[in-house]
Symmetry: C3
Subunit: 177 residues, 3 copies
């Protein structure tokens, strides 16, 4: 079976200029290394908070790079430079509002400002794109909530068969009809 | 009082070609027969997973057929052929995001993949359109969650006065101001 | 520090014609007077349920009047004249779906018809716009749920520093990174 390629896109003005060490991208890579038991390979990018650059990176990862999953970190808040959800919505053929709803719900158990997060998810070609927050701690909480549904979503998009370390996180696949 | 007409639209490539027996449409009809105590009449249609055909069926049921409520089953997932939510959004004048949020919430208590469902609801002319999942079991769970709000919504659209068997399901109507 | 201006927009055909005493606007003003401990000033408007008029009022309050926060009441249901969410979405550069999700969730604990509410929130220039329901009792429930996140949102928009009476309601601000 082909190795699954997973795009990790850090969206941050400061990290893209090298003024700030990217912590979101590495947190996602470590999470995936811990949870996935099947073969996978990260494809990492860092871009500024610029809608056109984010869109171009999402398209490149989902199409030219052939990633089955692209996970973003950063740029989902209400500030003027936060445009990751807009870029995601612009490039996706389908939106999956359940991801944002669930991530806000679990974050809200920790911080009242979780409702300011505009995270979404969607389908671009045969890739699932999921927006995560910028904070490393919040990344893990959000992935714990939504990752169980991701392998089956990728099955429905005819992507590689992702397997998880079930002692860490159980992927949910419905029984065959 | 005029009999309430309720559209039941099954969206399925296989069922529309007769390769597969439609189970979603009958599950909705049986649910409504069990829950409604006022007079009603089903208007049933089966279409393929094709956005233009779904839109045409929704418009026919809501306008030419005069249905006060149109319930769909199927086509709400992330797969390329799943376009029922897109068709619903394209024909509705207003969207009601609370229906999808609540249906995903109750389904999530059963299966982690509930967040992949893109179900929505909206208003087309004087009809309420509600997307349900394809699986018969999930149809009942979702209707139990959202049906209590449906009779009052139809009142607000100047439709027929739907009454429910209160031993089975209680419709909620706010007290008059 | 400059006094924070907060727009309060009542959307109601009857109240705008003087046929009905506006109760939503005063309920919001009283709530804010009780909760805010920093200096603030209300800027109140009443308009009919007309999308163009609502859009014009939102733009005037957010730009000409310089409000950092604009709160609306009314016009968020499924009836044909209810267009406050459409007006809000039309004028905002960014939408904040978490506000509507949380308000529907808390209202749903009281009434099954909460899913009919189409309330949303968004950013117009440097103002946060939040739709509230029309009923005074529901206004307080919704503000109790979402107000803790509002002062920090306004910080992110470079607005005035809102402070709350912490014995009544605690504003949440993340610790500095």
């Amino acid at each position: 079976m082909a190795t699954a390629k997973i795009g990790i896109l850090t969206v941050s003005d400061r990290a893209s200029r090298g003024e700030y060490e990217d912590r979101g991208g590495p947190a996602i890579r470590e999470y995936l290394a811990e949870v996935l038991s099947s073969e996978w390979e990260p494809v990492e990018r860092i871009v500024a908070d610029d809608q056109a650059l984010i869109e171009a990176a999402l398209v490149e990862l989902a199409t030219a790079e052939g990633c089955c999953l692209v996970v973003t970190t950063g740029g989902t808040g209400p500030a003027p430079r936060d445009v990751t959800p807009e870029a995601t919505e612009a490039v996706c053929q389908k939106l999956l509002p359940g991801f944002g709803e669930l991530m806000r719900k679990v974050s809200l158990e920790k911080v009242a400002t979780a409702i300011l997060s505009r995270q979404t998810a969607g389908i671009l070609g045969s890739a699932l794109i999921v927006n995560l927050p910028g904070q490393p701690r919040a990344i893990g909480e959000c992935l714990d909530a939504v990752f169980p549904a991701i392998p089956y979503c990728i099955d429905l998009l005819d992507g590689p068969y992702l397997e998880t370390d079930e002692s860490r996180l159980e992927a949910f696949r419905p029984k065959k009809k």
